[in-house]
Amino acid sequence: MRNDEKNIDLIEEPPMDLGSLDPAAADDTYWARFRFRVMTAAADELFRRRLIAETTVVGVMQGWSRALAPIAALAAALAGFLLFQDATRSAGPLALEEALVAELDDQTLPTFLDDGEADDGAFQFASETF
């Protein structure tokens, strides 16, 4: 019973007129200006967030490829040009190591052994030497 009375009491308490505390009571544009000030102060943070949102993994890769593809093409063209220049350039003086092996048969030891001269050659070499 007491609870019911209390509830009725709570419901019956009429609202207060607090209109005089409303900052827009004397200024219709108050909330529009309020919103504008908040949005102006938030502009940098919104811009930062937009930037982060746009920077996805695919975006980063695309960004890299955009920068990298022309550089790679340029490097390839430059390398091709240098190779071509090298090929057409006349041979210069030989280095000492190159001069020593120039015009010699490029025969390796296994080839030499395969020719059937291995045994004779080896014995000849041994008998002549010792």
Binding site: L10, E13, P15, L21, R35
Partner: protein, 183 residues
């Protein structure tokens, strides 16, 4: 669009979505700030700051659907910090009644006087009651909305609202503690 969707879009830097959140909660934020600071200028500063802080910390809002309650906590904290800073600065606050000083039309003066009386009466209420009565009777929030957004039981909201109104009426009609002291 619900708060959750707006918060998610604002996280990605969508200005229009954030603008909608500001539009939706600026009055409530002001009321909550006013309930703490008791001064128009401070309430305005605290509420505006709170929106920017909320945007900066939007990733910390774990339940975007409960954005309002989370925002109001920020508003309350910013307002308390502001009051603390003001008291440390040790300056004489401009009385509410002084805002309407000067040659103003009768109605405006009357409104300002009533506002000053209400502000003084509100100051005597506990903070939670001030907040609830402002959100309900000034901003038009319903019991259920206040309960959900401030995360307190609906019965408690009704009870606070009831006692806040009663105390305000008593103060305005000269039945408050000050009036009793004078008598």
């Amino acid at each position: 669009m619900d708060d959750g969707a707006l918060v998610r879009r604002a996280r990605a830097g969508d200005g229009a979505a954030f603008g909608q959140l500001v539009e939706r909660y600026m009055r409530a934020a002001y009321s909550v700030a006013y309930s703490v600071t008791g001064r128009h200028e401070d309430a305005e500063d605290a509420a505006q700051e709170a929106f920017v802080v909320a945007l900066e910390r939007l990733d910390d809002c774990r339940s975007p659907d409960r954005f309002a309650g989370w925002l109001m906590t920020i508003v309350r904290n910013r307002s308390r910090n502001l009051v603390r800073r003001e008291s440390l600065r040790d300056t004489d606050p401009v009385p509410v009644s002084a805002r309407s000083a000067g040659p103003t039309p009768d109605k405006v003066t009357e409104q300002a006087e009533l506002g000053a009386k209400l502000a003084a009466a509100l100051e005597r209420l506990p903070q939670v009651q001030r907040e609830i009565v402002l959100l309900h009777d000034l901003e038009g929030w319903k019991h259920r909305e206040i309960a959900e957004r401030l995360e307190i039981p609906s019965g408690t909201v009704r009870s606070h609202l009831h006692f806040a109104r009663k105390a305000l009426r008593a103060s305005l009609h000269g039945e408050g503690p000050e009036a009793r002291e004078r008598a």
